[in-house]
């Protein structure tokens, strides 16, 4: 059975070109970048050119890139690092209710440590309420962390507007761009952010590596102590093959973003259109236009997401759902709950996240299987008329 992968927001395969550049760094150019000998120099050079490539792809300077183990660590480092650094000036933080757990759980931890956090709501399409954000800014607000694009429903938040809003104030602006990089243009200066989190495995790079963009002049405290790596901000022997792969993945993004973005958006729009025309009572979650070009999140009335996911998986189609079914009752995700598609729809959401290598043929096959699966489950549903 040919498998069709439509879960690129969960993770992506490593691009063949990325793996190619990584390979020499495992067993040949395997040095520790801190070593003074030739093996070390090879590693140090790879590290520094990787840093340049990633900076270039974000419109940043090389010294503004700090390597981490992934998006979760970048988010933790940005939020806690800035909070601890600025805690003498104030202890109020603003974020949104639809952030990734890496941000939400971190903010909750800071609440336990005595910080105050305002969680700004979103509208029914998942867009941040800018008025409420503005109203929640206080004298002692030190940090705003708002995701660039949501991982579940793909809505794109008005980061540039936020940065303009806080201009001239001593507030650090962080954005979690884990889902946006590789799908839409991300330039740290256009966005006007001070910190930005990225994760390599979401953009056809290897797992276990990520970065935090930290604008020159913005200071944060490190969360990890050790050797002096990454200017002392993130010690530990650098994962050179991972970093080299990450850099290549970013370079590919930089080179072909426009084309890839257009391709994915074309697939996305025709997928949404086909689903709507073939499956009754299907609702798009999130915003029609302000959404990632690769995100299709739809709810199907009277069917349950995990079942739908399993039926599609049996046909080789890999998707995700916002209804993680864990214990006695299905918990709808906090993001779906925030945009509230209604009781008939909230447990029936599926997330299809496209990749640059998906084809129209794959999308068509997926929609065929989807239609069949929805019909099948509706036949079993006690809420559907016979």
């Amino acid at each position: 059975m040919k498998r069709i992968y439509l879960d690129h927001s969960a993770t992506t395969h490593v691009d063949a070109r990325v793996l190619d550049v990584m390979l020499p760094y495992f067993s040949e150019k395997f040095g520790n970048a801190s070593s003074l000998h030739s093996f070390g120099l090879e590693a140090a050079e790879a590290l520094s050119s990787s840093r340049e490539q990633i900076a270039a792809a974000l419109g940043a300077e090389p010294q503004e890139i700090i390597f981490t183990s992934g998006g979760t660590e970048s988010d933790n480092m940005a939020i806690k690092g800035a909070a601890y650094m600025c805690s003498s000036r104030g202890r109020h933080i603003i974020t949104s209710i639809i952030e990734h757990p890496a941000v939400l759980r971190t903010c909750e931890q800071l609440e336990r440590e005595g910080f105050e956090v305002t969680y700004v709501p979103v509208d029914n399409e998942g867009i941040l309420n800018m008025q409420l954000l503005e109203d929640s800014i206080r004298e002692d607000t030190i940090l705003i962390s708002i995701m660039h694009a949501n991982n579940e429903i793909g809505t794109i938040q008005p980061i540039k507007e936020i940065s303009e809003l806080i201009e001239g104030r001593r507030i650090v602006l962080h954005t979690d761009a884990v889902q946006s990089v590789g799908k839409i243009r991300v330039d740290v200066n256009e966005l006007g952010v001070h910190m930005l989190s990225i994760s390599s495995h979401k953009l056809h790079g290897p797992k276990g590596v990520g970065a935090l963009y930290l604008r020159s002049g913005v200071n944060i405290l490190p969360l990890v102590q050790g050797g002096g790596h990454e200017r002392g901000l993130r010690p530990g022997t650098e994962n050179i093959p991972g970093i080299v792969g990450f850099a290549k993945a970013m370079t590919i993004v930089r080179e072909q973003l426009e084309e890839d973005s257009r391709h994915m958006q074309h697939l996305r729009d025709s997928m949404i259109c086909n689903i709507r025309s073939r499956i009754p009572y299907a609702r798009l979650n999130g915003h029609e236009e302000k959404r990632l070009p690769n995100n299709v999140n739809m709810s199907f009335r009277h069917v349950e997401g995990e079942s739908l996911l399993m039926l599609l998986d049996m046909k080789g189609v890999a998707v995700s759902t916002g209804s993680a079914c864990s214990s006695k009752s299905q918990k709808a995700s906090h993001v779906l709950t925030a945009i509230d598609p209604g009781v008939d729809y909230i447990h029936g959401s599926l997330r299809f996240t496209l990749g640059r290598e998906n084809t129209m043929e794959e999308i068509d096959i997926a929609v065929d299987h989807l239609e069949e699966a929805v019909m099948k489950l509706r036949q079993m549903s006690p809420f559907e008329e016979e």
Binding site: E304, L311, P382
Partner: protein
């Protein structure tokens, strides 16, 4: 996660449907929680001659519904009410640890249908 046996049951569930002139009906769960099972029974001489279900829920909810209806059919009311979640789970090749709770769900609904039938008998 799910056993192969459970997935088979889930993809090819038996006894899906409604018994229009059912002798007893049970329903558990609610749509806001994301799972609802409805079980219909037809009884003749204390034996469950027909059992059908409609389920909105996860793969485990559907597979256990299907399994419980099959196990119940042909049994006496007394036998059927004793069907345990462990039996159902075992017949499905086991349930993932996070789903064990959910396997109680279908036998409980069956018991509700039986009670409904018995209540109707008395009146």
């Amino acid at each position: 996660m799910y056993s192969r046996r459970l997935l088979e049951e889930f993809t090819n569930p038996q006894n899906v449907g409604v018994i229009e002139d059912a002798d007893g009906v049970g329903q558990l769960g609610n749509p806001a929680d994301g799972d609802v099972i409805t079980i219909y029974i037809k009884v003749k001489d204390d034996v469950l001659v027909d059992v059908k279900f409609k389920t909105f829920g996860c793969a485990a909810a559907i597979a256990t519904s299907s399994m419980v209806t099959q196990m119940a059919k042909g049994r006496t009311i007394e036998e059927a009410r004793l069907i345990t979640k462990e039996e159902v789970a075992e017949a499905l090749g086991g349930l993932p640890s996070g789903k064990m709770d959910c396997s109680n769900f279908a036998p409980d609904t069956l018991r509700m249908a039986i009670e409904d039938y018995q209540k109707k008998q008395k009146t």
